[in-house]
Symmetry: C2
Amino acid sequence: MGTGALARPGRAKLDKILFFNSRADSWGRLSLRVSLLMQIFLTILDMWAASRAVRHGGKRLGLVPTMGALHEGHLSLIRAAKSQSDSVAASIFVNPLQFGPNEDLAKYPRDFDRDCELLKKEGVDFLFAPSVEEMYPAGAVTHVTVEGLSDKLCGKSRPGHFRGVTTVVSKLFHIVEPDVAFFGQKDAAQLAIIRRMVRDLNFLVEIEACPIVRESDGLAMSSRNAYLNAQERKAALVLNRTLKRVQELFDQGERNAARLADGGKVAFPEEKSVRLDYLEIVDPDSLEALTEVKKTALAAVAGFVGTTRLIDNVVLGTEEKGFR
Amino acid sequence: MGTGALARPGRAKLDKILFFNSRADSWGRLSLRVSLLMQIFLTILDMWAASRAVRHGGKRLGLVPTMGALHEGHLSLIRAAKSQSDSVAASIFVNPLQFGPNEDLAKYPRDFDRDCELLKKEGVDFLFAPSVEEMYPAGAVTHVTVEGLSDKLCGKSRPGHFRGVTTVVSKLFHIVEPDVAFFGQKDAAQLAIIRRMVRDLNFLVEIEACPIVRESDGLAMSSRNAYLNAQERKAALVLNRTLKRVQELFDQGERNAARLADGGKVAFPEEKSVRLDYLEIVDPDSLEALTEVKKTALAAVAGFVGTTRLIDNVVLGTEEKGFR
């Protein structure tokens, strides 16, 4: 039934590429030469073919999804992927679906050449860098939603944001078919939501979280830090100070969530230029607000430094603090 | 981060099963003996392991998802799968997520032993028959939604129905990882929605549609036909007659959608016991209502025969009518 308008792109072409790749694999020299280069794929079909070839070879493939504008936080994910996989794919895609209408999609920092150099240096095997049209062709209407969790923390201030994230991550998981994917702990809500999605929809992908990477003064690394002027850069440290106060109170034995949050918020009036979006003490898996911390809790903060929205967090009650 | 509460079920166990399966594969006799039986899997992990083993062996796996209560329509899907795949998996799962609160989930016909016998006779290799708890453990909150299309045709009278379908089909695609999946043309809206989902989320699965299978008097086969008493069984033929009139008008050159629908609906008052839910002339891919049929159109009908809701359809403007 139906016309060919919605037919999936040529399986025949994919089979041809797979055949070529397996021939290449049997010629040791060509295979070696290819492995020393980072292959850049702009189309879904090419990325599919490469990941299928890795899988056919019985190798373990790791994926690091990014929006580019790479910093040390991203590179720590790549290094984790390198150490835990035979082949590493990274993706660079500034996903319009996760930006709200009044957000910074247009001005989001982009530097493809610099990103490529950084990824090559880290030994990434495949870079998937599709266009918006390639990822969202006309008529794309399907969404993946993790209900409930997606309305919490950043989801409250950014409606639709996490739906955009889970939809694009689903697509990337289907296109790259990784055995393991790496996400930063800085986006703690995103991490909890992706873990839940993977569990609920039975994606056969392991999710690895990597600790927050910070500047020497404690500011969590973020591509959006590039928006800050010198004064804002200094003011932004209030997020970190807030979490440190929460951590100190917790270490002193405070377990009441409201008192932990209030104690942290004290830091905010010190920086008039920073507007608190939220500081919440929640369950790290369900993102539900806690009244009392029983074992572990996620203390997550978001604030506007000028017009730049930044986030940070700390997990209370774990051995590894990843926190200075 | 987080507790182990939401961790995915043991990858280690999966690896162990995969290892066992590859050993079994290397013993010709064991492998042969296994292939003569239909393996029944109640857990996601066991189904995963079997499908991964098929994929590791480079074989093409076909999937036929069903809700059981099998009839000749289902068996035609199995036969199509057998002819187009090296291995065939069928699933039986009465998916609560696609039933509304006042629908027939509790009384939906179930006969697992009979279904098993039928599938064995057709030479199905794997039967996946999970429990509701296995598919939807506590805390499952993720949904896949094909926006727009899911509110049309049956989606209008059954809110949430197609969201339940796309969510469970996504899960089945992840668990079984088929190369090709087979669906009946009888659920034409479902087919269009699944095709769109596969395209939008980049599932690497081919979707094959199989023609409607009918009883000798023209009634489309359906598990729900079992609900009908003798009188209702006869009255139900009005659906088929309606579509035949639409087809006749179309064959006579009528292209105006309203006149095609009105001409079909004339059949309805003949059967007082059947209440028309809808008769619509829509685009087969987008399910958007048409005013004029340009090339092809889906004429879809749904009606309540007593309390039993039945559907049927015909694609106008194609060579293969599959229609008596």
